[in-house]
């Protein structure tokens, strides 16, 4: 397995180049690029500018592990407004194009958003239709769409079997699961998600979670690896069992208050322990 971390973790005020240097120095193999979340990679970023990002990544001795985005929280494919849905599809298409240019084969999509306003049945069907539409586009580009399990925040596809049914309904070999082992909270167990989805997993986000805390105000449920309630030996065993040998991508919500670069080193060391299996 290989280690990666998101460019949205690069401390504010740092340049992309400075961030890449830190990521390499901390021991990562690659970097996850977040469309729309960082100044150097926006929807307005041109193809040639994306090619330049790739050159910078490669000059730093890294590769791009995958292309993610948080834009679908604001512009979901499950919106009631057709204009918003069109924009959401456009974001995924741009992710696919960018992935091709950046030389990676996976993107992350937050596929639907259940709210008090937009109920589950609507979100489900629109999400299936959107992924059915995008699957062939991804396939033609040699890219896989990984739908992320943002269980609590999306209030959508809350169990691994539900997610399995969703992927069956989409019915595309180019659409799978971008698993976040920290997002499952107390609605289940990451190791069971890994076992059930196995080869459908495109990438894995790693972070730990305090299952008993719950969101309240600005308090986060997420924490650094091995500090929370995830059963990491079971997760590691499940990865072995399904033969997952792909990217582990660090996604830490809680940031260090001081010595911001230290989190990169600490997280990389924890990921090494996870990969080694010495837990």
């Amino acid at each position: 397995m290989k280690k990666s971390i998101g460019d949205n973790m690069i401390p504010k005020g740092w340049s992309f180049e400075q961030g890449l240097e830190l990521v390499k120095k901390a021991g990562y193999d690659g970097i996850e690029l977040w469309l729309g979340d960082v100044p150097w990679f926006q929807m307005s970023t041109t193809d040639s500018e994306i090619r330049e990002l790739r050159r910078k990544v490669e000059r730093a001795g890294l590769v791009v592990s995958n292309v993610s985005t948080g834009l679908h929280w604001e512009t979901p494919v499950s919106s009631r407004d057709p204009k918003v849905r069109d924009r959401a599809i456009g974001i995924v298409e741009r992710q696919i194009e960018a992935a091709q240019i950046l030389g990676t084969d996976a993107i992350l999509v937050v596929v639907g958003l259940v709210t008090a306003e937009v109920p589950y049945n609507e979100v489900y069907q629109r999400s299936v239709e959107a992924m059915q539409k995008l699957g062939p586009t991804a396939g033609n580009a040699g890219v896989k769409i990984g739908c992320e399990n943002c269980n609590s925040e999306q209030r959508f596809l809350l169990s691994p079997r539900e997610f399995w049914t969703f992927l069956n309904d989409v019915n595309s070999p180019h659409v799978g699961l971008h698993l976040d082992v920290g997002n499952i909270h107390d609605t289940g167990f990451a190791e069971q998600w890994i076992e059930i989805h196995g080869p459908r997993i495109t990438r894995i986000h790693v972070k730990d979670v305090n299952k008993q805390r719950g969101r309240c105000g600005d308090q986060s449920v997420y924490t650094n690896l091995f500090l929370g309630d995830n059963n990491w030996p079971a997760i590691r065993a499940a990865l072995d069992k399904v033969g997952y040998n792909g990217w582990l991508v660090a996604e830490m919500e809680l940031r260090y208050r001081y010595a911001l670069d230290q989190q990169f080193y600490d997280t990389a060391a924890a990921m090494d322990r996870l990969i080694s299996g010495k837990l």
Partner: protein, 259 residues
């Protein structure tokens, strides 16, 4: 029941197309939008589902009506307005753009005895298109529309979901919005809202030969109005999506309208 007979009588006498035709299966769509009446399958139609093409702002509403009609015993045809055959019920989903000649087709259908259901999708249109929609409905049907209202503008929609995500706030805090539209005709029904409505102005309904039949958050947004031998039903809150996503009350309401 009397309405149904009356509409069928209209159908059989107004135009030869529906008369003396072979029996056909119910719950079946007979056409595609571009097919002309001359090549329609021979059979009695209960309903025409109008595809306004670019004038339909909510394609999923059209799909919702089509799916719901397919589940009934109704024999229906999907057609473009300028080629629609006569039928006792005419449904116009997601209407935003409404050319004058098309509006006249709908008005003539109502005057000839049809029930014409115009569902507004203009709350999802850009402002100039909405304004044209408002003028057209006033000019051709005497309906006075207010500007669209976002029922979820108190900040509990998608945008606020993002904010909650970013802020880590609990989604359930302080929720009070009741997400339903209430109808009292043709049956009482409670149907999920579709975020935005086009409310009707307060008018002297008796002077318009009509009355409101639906409300959202206390605002009238649906009405029926008599025209000649038929009537116009206006919905300012899209019903088609609710039909598509399994709202049983919406389906019951439509079925009652078709009888």
């Amino acid at each position: 029941m009397r309405i149904r007979v009356s509409r069928r009588h209209f159908l059989s006498t107004a135009v030869g197309a529906g008369a003396g035709l072979a029996s056909v299966a119910r719950g079946r769509c007979f056409g595609i939008a571009s097919r002309s009446p001359a090549v329609l399958p021979q059979g009695h139609l209960d309903c025409v589902l109008v595809d306004l093409a670019d004038g339909c702002r909510l394609r999923e509403s059209l799909a919702g009506y089509e799916a719901a009609l397919s589940r009934t015993h109704c024999r229906f045809l999907r057609a473009v307005p300028r080629q629609m055959p006569p039928a006792p019920v005419v449904i116009v989903p997601g209407c935003a753009g409404l050319a004058p000649d098309v509006a006249e087709i709908f008005r003539s259908s109502a005057e000839a005895g049809a029930l014409v259901l115009v569902e507004s999708g203009a709350a999802y249109a850009e402002l100039p298109e909405f304004e044209a929609h408002r003028v057209a409905l006033d000019l051709h049907f005497g309906l006075k529309l207010e500007a669209p209202v976002d029922l979820w503008s108190d900040g509990r929609g998608e945008e606020s979901a993002l904010a909650r995500h970013a802020e880590g706030r609990r989604a359930e805090a302080g929720r009070s919005h009741v997400p339903y539209v209430d109808y009292n005709w043709p049956i009482a029904a409670k149907v999920r809202d579709f975020s935005r409505i086009v409310p009707l102005c307060n008018v002297v309904w008796a002077a318009l030969n009509g009355e409101p039949i639906g409300w959202a958050q206390g605002r009238p947004m649906a009405a029926r109005q008599s025209f000649g031998r038929g009537k116009l039903v206006f919905l300012g809150s899209p019903l088609g999506p609710a039909l598509r996503y399994g709202d049983r009350e919406a389906e019951r309401w439509l079925n009652a309208l078709l009888v």
